[in-house]
């Protein structure tokens, strides 16, 4: 990824921005898919991330790698949306609501990959899934997760423990 592409996009060049999208869409979509556990939500959040990126691109000053910066932006977008949506409609919907899980909506992972694990992650309760994805897959620390998700550090640790236990149980069935 050339810095030139980022610089051109910062200057308002939409062609360059499209190239940025092509380079990063897969990584962002994978993150959104695992955080949301739902294929349609992941598509929407991926689009939200790039629209947000277009707004915020000028504030990128190169103090970290662009991909890391974008990654954090994507996490923020997904978690913010979940907080909002949680207030909007999920406050009354149990996490285990069958409609909520709808495994069929979860985009099928590419063939040859750990399909069972992907499905098991998607079926985790929201809070546990987010912490598991951020900690075990994306490498965030509990302090960072607590800050990003607006939860206590202890809650993050507890959710991780819960997520791993549930995953092991699901995968052993």
């Amino acid at each position: 990824m050339s810095d030139d592409l980022v610089a051109r996009a910062q200057a308002g060049d939409q062609t360059a921005f499209r190239e940025l999208y092509r380079h990063h869409a897969g990584r962002v979509y994978a993150l959104c898919l695992r955080l949301t556990g739902d294929g349609r939500d992941a598509e929407e959040r991926t689009q939200d991330v790039f629209v947000r990126l277009w707004d915020k691109l000028r504030s990128f000053r190169g103090e970290s790698a662009f991909s890391s910066w974008l990654h954090r932006l994507a996490v923020n977008v997904v978690l913010n949306e979940r907080r909002t949506t949680g207030r909007r409609e999920r406050r009354v919907m149990p996490a285990e609501d069958p409609d909520d899980v709808v495994g069929a909506q979860h985009a099928a992972p590419p063939a040859g990959l750990s399909i069972d694990l992907e499905r098991a992650i998607a079926e985790l309760p929201d809070g546990a899934r987010e912490v598991f994805v951020l900690y075990d897959i994306e490498g965030y620390g509990h302090g960072e997760i607590a800050q990003l998700a607006g939860i206590a550090e202890g809650t993050s640790k507890a959710q991780l423990f819960r997520a791993r236990r549930l995953l092991r149980e699901k995968l052993e069935r």
């Binding site: 939409q14 921005f17 499209r18 999208y21 092509r22 869409a25 897969g26 990584r27 979509y29 994978a30 898919l33 294929g39 992941a42 598509e43 991926t46 689009q47 939200d48 790039f50 629209v51 947000r52 277009w54 707004d55 504030s59 923020n76 909002t84 207030r87 909007r88 409609e89 999920r90 406050r91 009354v92 919907m93 609501d97 409609d99 985009a107 992972p109 590419p110 990959l113 750990s114 694990l117 992907e118 075990d136 897959i137 791993r164 995953l167 092991r168 995968l171 052993e172």
Partner: protein, 326 residues
């Protein structure tokens, strides 16, 4: 499977998964649309407004306190306090928050990642433009003194407290925690009383409000009604009517005014079955959307809703009548 095996499996997961369809067209459409609508016209309008205010010698300012981090006013960062003048932009980043004193009538807490502008600061009009982000507003004043413009419309304070969030395109959420807020986009408006939420869409403006504890399927049906085209809206209306409870009368009152005229009768009948209309409100008047009928009905619905909310946990209120259950 033990912990180690799980970790090994996790390490083998791909870092990248291609989306099942090309998402770029949707992104591109959203990039283009608002830049025309939101960025340039309001900025130009704001510039003219600032010029006029300056010319009239009415330039004013509100106090701002940094609650966390170092927010920006214009291009200046401040760590403790600052002054927000008409025309100034206030911006918070991921880690900063600020508190604005809205003249003498209230305050606005500006959450992280928010950008807003002070547009008017007069005794009879307090107006902010929220470009994106989230604010918590608390106002103690007579109605229609405090306004917040967003890319999708304007929140008009009717004496209340609320949280308003929006992205730069206008997609957002209004959650009222005290009093009532009106949200207006062109000729379309919604009234959101305390304990209710309303989603805002760039294309359609204010959605149909719903109570906090509204069941998720009902909320989903309202969203479908807000967003879908005429043909499929009829199905959404039927779902809304089937799932509606007396507590959802505030939603049905809005649906009544937005539904296709051919469906207005069934919406009215359902609303009337859940919360009987007050004396003086006739079916004919309501179907003709006469303001007297609609206002009369709203007054009753609003009064019941307020009693339910205010007495929650204290008295069990009948949502059909507003009277305390024995």
């Amino acid at each position: 499977m033990n912990e180690r095996e799980l970790q090994d499996a996790v390490n083998r997961l791909p870092k990248s998964i291609e989306p099942p369809r090309d998402l770029w067209p949707g992104i591109e459409a959203r990039l283009r649309q608002p830049r025309r609508v939101w960025y340039w016209l309001p900025l130009a309008a704001a510039a003219v407004l600032v010029f006029l205010l300056l010319a009239r010698g009415e330039r004013s300012a509100w106090d701002v306190t940094a609650l966390a981090g170092r927010p920006l006013i214009g291009t200046r960062r401040f760590a403790a306090s600052g002054r927000l003048r008409v025309g100034d932009w206030l911006q918070t980043d991921d880690s900063s928050r600020a508190l604005i004193a809205v003249g003498r009538i209230g305050q606005v807490e500006v959450r992280p990642d928010t950008r807003l502008q002070l547009v008017v600061a007069k005794a009879n009009e307090h107006r902010l433009a929220l470009a994106r982000g989230t604010i918590d507003a608390k106002v103690d004043a007579v109605p229609r003194l405090f306004f917040v413009e967003t890319p999708a419309g304007t929140a008009i304070d009717l004496g209340c407290a609320y949280t308003l969030e929006t992205d730069s395109l206008g997609k957002g959420l209004l959650h009222v925690t005290a009093g009532e807020v009106e949200f207006q986009t062109g000729s379309r408006s919604s009234r959101v009383p305390l304990g209710a939420l309303m989603q805002i869409q760039p294309a359609t403006g204010p959605g149909v409000p719903y109570v906090e504890e509204a069941p998720a399927p009902f909320v989903r049906a309202l969203l479908a009604f807000d967003l879908e085209r005429r043909g499929t809206r009829a199905r959404a209306v039927r779902t809304v009517l089937t799932l509606a409870r007396p507590q959802d009368a505030i939603s049905l009152w809005h649906v009544l005014q937005r539904v296709d005229p051919s469906l207005r009768g069934v919406v009215y009948d359902r609303l009337a079955a859940l919360v009987p209309p007050p004396p003086g409100v006739t079916r004919r008047g309501a179907l003709a959307l006469e303001s007297r009928a609609l206002e009369g009905y709203w007054t009753k619905i609003q009064r019941i809703h307020f009693r339910i909310m205010v007495l929650r946990g204290v008295r069990d209120i009948d949502p059909r009548t507003g009277l305390a259950k024995p």
